[in-house]
Symmetry: C2
Subunit: 246 residues, 2 copies
DNA sequence: CGTATAATTGATTCCCCTCAAACCCAGTGG
DNA sequence: CCACTGGGTTTGAGGGGAATCAATTATACG
């Protein structure tokens, strides 16, 4: 790994310090969090928690990508969330997750035991306020995704996913996103299909079609080069772009 | 109308007192809310706000049903939320809604001007806490709906919608839901289609099919009788029922 | 009764799923 | 060095479920 060991990292030097649930905490509050936090790391493919299982902690994704997904009895699964660095895991006041949570790359979580965290929340409005904002953002994202799932064609779905990942990579890395963009897919074709409500074959076919039409180029199978981000956004069929991408 | 006029209703006697954003407020806080609240009523079909427009207030649905929906340039629309009594409208800290909000029945809102409400939130943790809980519940509901949109067949989608409405009516009315249940649809076929990511023709066909198969009966076109709620739940294809229905 | 809106039903088309085979590539071990 | 493996991916052939286009029927309302 080319990242420093996180075992003893101070909150003040944390890479997600200004975006995570602790973003608005002052230095006193940070000291308290610092004292109660601990890190956990998950391998590629490892399950962080199964739907319905007890989860003794909540926390933030520090590094890596995890997914939330729902499954029907007969095995059909739908991904309902993509957790990137700074996203919050778990729900205060509830000890189980209604979703399977899975690491799709190596993931590091900054964890807090549920009880102490809830007690801290009760006395530290900054945390609850930040969590409310983050939750409202996630709700907006979930609702935007409902439009993708319910009304978009397979081609538009693929373009939407690539656009979203480009946006989020831009937001995290603070990179200006204009002209030629390279997106590194954190997901397999199957995971993309589960996110988009498609089959993996259809995902593969549509990616090939976008490549054939010159909208994207592939470098290996996880790197996608987008020569003109606006052409991709147009393929997504959205009304107006969200403003994150110039 | 068979409901009393709400113009001067006291919060303490409000029908949604114990479920809305004000649920945890003590009597002092309630006095403050009482002083700043005002009611607005919308006709059937009236738009409460267009996506992107300024909205000077937030509030709670007191009576009636409203919908949140997203629309693409070419007119495809996807409903992303159903607002029933006690649901919150608007977002603190943001002056526009990303969705169209429409009254599908006559709707009464209990409104608060944005500024005063946000100031009250800053000093009254009970409100923010309740709003966080409500938002987390809505996020769960949105994610559950993503599974419906992404992975269920048309027939399962219809059954899922009927199940959800039955659940929510039960929760609001505090009625025990067992055996034969009657669901009053607040939505037209087209609105159902927009919620389910289908066309109105497919909605109609699947309702006819469920009727033909004895899973439901129609009384008029808005009342649906479910002889055996468990048979309907089975049609929805869900893994395990949510526990609200015995 | 006549009009408008909502709902049902039918005929046909097409997009995506299903089933199936081949391919690519990295890792492993003979 | 190369065959062997296995996961991930691509591509093909065919079928099915929902969309589309179109007509008819019900319901509400003046």
């Amino acid at each position: 790994m080319d990242v420093p060991l996180l075992a003893d990292q101070k909150c003040s030097e944390c890479p997600i310090r200004h975006r995570a649930v602790c973003a608005r905490c002052d230095s006193d509050e940070l000291v308290q969090l610092d004292a109660m936090k601990y890190y956990r790391t998950y391998e590629v493919g490892q399950t962080i928690t199964w739907a319905g299982d007890e989860m003794g902690f909540v926390g933030s994704v520090v590094r890596g990508v995890a997914t939330l997904s729902n499954t029907l009895e007969d095995g059909r699964t739908q991904m309902v969330g993509l957790l990137l660095p700074s996203d919050f895991v778990g729900r205060p006041g509830r000890s189980t997750s209604p979703y399977d949570i899975t690491a799709v790359s190596e993931v590091t979580l900054c964890c807090f035991r549920r009880g102490p965290f809830e007690r801290l929340m009760a006395t530290t409005p900054h945390i609850g306020e930040r969590l409310l904002d983050m939750t409202l953002d996630e709700l907006d994202a979930a609702r935007e995704w409902m439009l993708v799932l319910g009304r978009k064609t397979a081609r538009e779905k693929i373009a939407s996913l690539l656009t979203i990942i480009a946006r989020r990579e831009a937001a995290i890395g603070m990179l200006p996103v204009t002209g030629e963009v390279t997106v590194t897919l954190p997901l397999t074709r199957e995971a993309m299909a589960d996110y988009l409500g498609l089959t993996l074959e259809t995902v593969s076919r549509q990616i090939s079609a976008l490549k054939r039409d010159g909208v994207i180029r592939l470098e290996g199978q996880r790197r996608i080069v987008v020569p003109d981000i606006h052409a991709l956004i147009a393929e997504a069929g959205d009304d107006v772009d969200g403003g994150m991408i110039a």
